[in-house]
């Protein structure tokens, strides 16, 4: 035990003398939490609309003003032909073009039926899908308005109608920041913990001090623990800092049991730091460690269910997600911070991560060789 005390003393001295690390720990959380949620707004709004109105009728104008009034669309201009509108889309000036054929109003009234043409720039699938859906529902409403205008209510043949009442739980205003902030906090913790621990042992290898350690009677698990504990404490500092920042700036505070949140973070840090230390024991230079870590971080973060739902992934990707500590963290963060869950809901996650932590750290201890 006394050995660990000396190891910790040394690690902390070194950490606090390294300005790059301190900068990373103190500035990155604040910067990321302040800027990223502003940048990462995936709400589909401000869809740029180009209109080709061949009809110029009161109805066509009424329809256009209804679309622009919805708040989702920004009218970028009227084009004379669809060809011109396509060019507009090509230049990324419009996401969506609406063509109202000539005789729109007349045909609608006389022939009871009229078509409209909508072209969507579908390179961004989500935006196209939701944009199309919004426009369709505005058209439905418009259609209903017209019917009301022409047919007195009593004469309208009553039809069985199902009313869908949507309800958005946990985030009724569909505030995108509620979604992003816990996720960014998760990424932050993973990045800081993962990179710091991955670069640490390998740095001692590069400068040669590890030789001096290896020739001492130090126990392998003491050495690894001496590396683990300081970063574990730093991880907690970063997380607390992040929590405070998101509370002050975004008013997001865990709805659920905060002890459960910390309990989970403690176990999570064990797993992530264990992974970093493992990478550190396998690599020879800091550059290598960084690239290896970057590779895994990218996979962990992209496949952690932060940007897209894990449910939609194919089978093999679900397996990767099941082996990905970040996916558990993202889920637990959302559960506790947004949904107000407590210990009982996160127990399975906790168990799995504990297993990760034990395996990864055990592996790192095993792979750390004092003798070559």
């Amino acid at each position: 035990m006394r050995t660990i005390k000396f190891l910790l003393e040394k690690e902390f001295r070194q950490i606090f003398r390294n300005r790059a690390i301190l900068l990373l720990i103190m500035v990155m959380p604040i910067m990321q939490l302040v800027i990223l949620p502003l940048a990462a707004d995936f709400e589909v709004k401000n869809i740029n609309l180009s209109v080709v109105d061949h009809d110029h009728s009161p109805y066509s104008r009424q329809l256009i003003s209804k679309i622009t009034a919805s708040g989702y669309f920004r009218l970028q201009g009227y084009q004379a032909s669809m060809k011109e509108a396509y060019r507009f889309i090509e230049q990324d000036k419009a996401d969506l073009a609406l063509e109202i054929p000539s005789g729109f109003e007349r045909n609608l009234i006389r022939e009871n039926e009229q078509q409209l043409f909508i072209a969507v720039n579908a390179i961004n699938g989500t935006k196209a899908g939701l944009g199309g859906a919004y426009l369709s529902s505005i058209l439905r409403d418009f259609n209903q308005d017209i019917r009301m205008e022409w047919i007195p209510p009593m004469r309208l043949q009553p039809l069985p109608t199902i009313e869908v009442i949507p309800k958005n739980r946990f985030n009724p205003q569909l505030n995108y920041q509620f979604f992003m902030v816990p996720g960014i906090l998760a990424i932050l913790l993973t990045m800081v913990g993962g990179f710091l621990s991955a670069l640490n042992i390998v740095k001692e290898k590069e400068i040669g001090t590890i030789e001096q350690i290896n020739v001492t009677p130090i126990r392998k698990h003491h050495f690894i623990l001496g590396k683990l504990i300081p970063f574990w404490i730093l991880g907690n500092v970063v997380f607390t800092l992040g929590l405070v920042v998101s509370w002050i700036i975004y008013g997001i505070f865990p709805q659920g049991n905060i002890m459960a949140m910390y309990g989970f973070i403690w176990i999570y840090l064990l797993a992530v730091l264990g992974f970093g230390l493992l990478v550190s024991t396998y690599t020879d230079t800091q550059q290598q460690a960084m690239f290896v870590m970057f590779f895994f971080m990218m996979i962990f973060i992209l496949m952690g269910g932060l940007f897209t739902s894990i449910d939609s992934m194919p089978g093999w990707a679900k397996w990767i997600a099941a082996l990905n500590p970040v996916s558990y963290l993202v889920e637990v963060m959302r559960m506790i911070i947004l949904k107000g869950s407590g210990w009982s809901a996160i127990l399975p996650h906790l168990g799995i991560l504990l297993a990760f932590g034990v395996v990864l750290n055990g592996w790192a201890i095993w792979n750390y060789r004092k003798t070559s």
Binding site: R13, I207, E211, I218
Partner: protein
């Protein structure tokens, strides 16, 4: 101090890396309190042999006992009984002199009281009082080396292994360094040292000269000079090493 008490006993110790045999069945003994010089050209296998003796590298074959412990099975007991100073300076440059002493002493299990006494004594002996709270990285090379040596014998090991401890150091500091080595030896610490300086070889009780992974000669400097009919150690070394196949 009895000369028949070997603290290092190597028999046919061998290390192979793939096809290349870095250390080829060397056998020798080092006795308690001796200053044993381990000479050889670059690439002759000195560092590899030393790393095996320290328990940093597992031998391919042969046996060796260090302070009575086996290099295969008892590496951790060996480490408790030795000190090591590598070729590359390996104290922490971002810790102060005192912090380095405290850290390495602590790892070897010195008590707080011992730590205090020993670090005070060490700093006084080296005359480092004004620098005690400076980062090690800021010290000149000679001081760093003296400090590294003192730290490596802080826990009073049976044997201390020094890998080219005076490389790149000025002649005055080298002499001071050897004074430290003699002091350690007089306290009963066996010193196992590699060097390229032939004048330093003369300071040793006994020396061995490695060529191509084998020990080509072993004895006191005087014996070797007589044996090879040379007037200086330079001549001895040159005669043995020039036929080597493995050079940088």
């Amino acid at each position: 101090m009895s000369m028949n008490e070997p603290v290092i006993k190597a028999e046919n110790l061998t290390k192979r890396f793939g096809d290349f045999t870095a250390v080829d069945a060397i056998s020798f003994e080092v006795y308690k309190g001796e200053i044993f010089g381990f000479l050889g050209a670059n690439g002759a296998g000195k560092t590899t042999a030393m790393r095996m003796l320290c328990g940093l590298s597992t031998p391919s074959s042969g046996t060796a006992r260090i302070a009575g412990f086996d290099v295969y099975r008892q590496t951790e007991q060996i480490k408790r009984n030795i000190g090591y100073m590598s070729q590359k300076f390996s104290l922490y440059e971002d810790l102060t002199v005192l912090e380095n002493i405290r850290f390495f002493g602590g790892i070897y299990g010195l008590s707080n009281q011992q730590l205090k006494l020993k670090s005070d004594a060490l700093i006084e002996r080296l005359g480092l009082q004004p620098e005690a709270k400076k980062m090690v990285g800021e010290l000149p090379l000679g001081w760093k080396q003296k400090l590294a040596f003192s730290v490596s014998i802080l826990h009073e090991p049976t044997i201390v292994f020094l890998d080219e401890p005076t490389g790149g150091v000025d002649p005055v500091t080298r002499r001071q360094f050897w004074a430290l080595i003699y002091e350690a030896a007089s306290n009963g610490i066996t010193v196992f040292v590699t060097t390229h300086y032939m004048d330093e070889a003369e300071y040793c009780n006994r020396i061995s000269i490695m060529v191509d992974g084998r020990i080509a000669a072993l004895g006191t400097p005087k014996e070797l000079k007589i044996q090879l009919n040379e007037s200086s150690m330079d001549g001895v070394f040159y005669q043995l090493a020039r036929g080597a196949k493995n050079k940088d």
